[in-house]
Symmetry: C2
Subunit: 179 residues, 2 copies
Amino acid sequence: MTQQPRPRLSAEDWLMAGFRALADQGPSALRAEALARNLGTTKGSFYWHFKDLPDYLAKLIALWETRAFTDVLASLDPDLPPRGRLEQLCLLATGYRDPSYGGIALEPALRAWALSAPDVADALRRMDARRLDALADLCTQAGITDPVAPRALYALAIGVEALGDDKGTEAMRLVLRGL
Amino acid sequence: MTQQPRPRLSAEDWLMAGFRALADQGPSALRAEALARNLGTTKGSFYWHFKDLPDYLAKLIALWETRAFTDVLASLDPDLPPRGRLEQLCLLATGYRDPSYGGIALEPALRAWALSAPDVADALRRMDARRLDALADLCTQAGITDPVAPRALYALAIGVEALGDDKGTEAMRLVLRGL
DNA sequence: ACTATTCCATACGCAACCGTATGGAGACCA
DNA sequence: TGGTCTCCATACGGTTGCGTATGGAATAGT
């Protein structure tokens, strides 16, 4: 779409393009030459910034893993009551669309990618564990004692995102009401 | 794993191998030569049974779409009370492992595939709509009136399956209790 | 047994992609 | 201005997969 004069690219430019390609076309779009076309350059740049494709993919996963958790937690409104923060976290947990990723929905594509990439599956498992911990904390603060409640809420959030359900907020509130 | 003497293959053999490859290695494993290797044959057979790869993939989707819904409904125990059938359906809806698919978990892989294949996305949307209708029926029979309850239950089932949560049954029951 | 049909093996040309090698364009410095 | 360093373009060989063509093996029909 945009073929600007000739900006030099950084490694992060390539990574951001990777996130976008992943969200738009799936893991098979994470290839040096295809990404280069999207960026209006050639793979010469790619192989200067990254050793090879596995190196690039590892850095892509690492960048997601270091950002997607803390950025979500930081965006929580500390003035809300625990139950309000809980609801907010549930909706953010998988619907994260921070501008640092170009405002796109990464999670479903990443979870899909994880099914065929063990490294991604590992990162996703770590992320799930951290989020479940945070959810468990908030649940206890909100007076929800059932030990499976965090898992239920998290699974619901994942399902809502996977379904692309526009009634996701209401479904989340309905379930929260029953806890 | 199994390299039997030399049985002739049918189109369905290829389709079943496709389901298995999809569940095991993702959509990128749905290729003529890779499937042929798994079946201990060559792509000569593939291109005899199918015109080309799109033809094969379309038949794969069609077969799933015609089976995955009715087979699940037929497996419901009619002697259970509505709420029991509801719970059973929720757990079956996305965890379908009928031997006709080789006892594998297709849904997560298929939903992942749908993110990068519009045809699959269409089939999945149709399937979701049919399942949501059935869920809504069961909900009314069970005296659950909230209109978003079916979507909440379905999203929860999808999330549980995506998470690979071994506590899925308990999470489902916890939410059902609150409805 | 002869023929026809069904099914598969093999070989080919084509295209896409990987990773490397090498040179060139620009910036930056002295 | 000359040199150096950063970043990218291009060309190359190798691999993998697609779809076709063609012949052969196995099976069924008569």
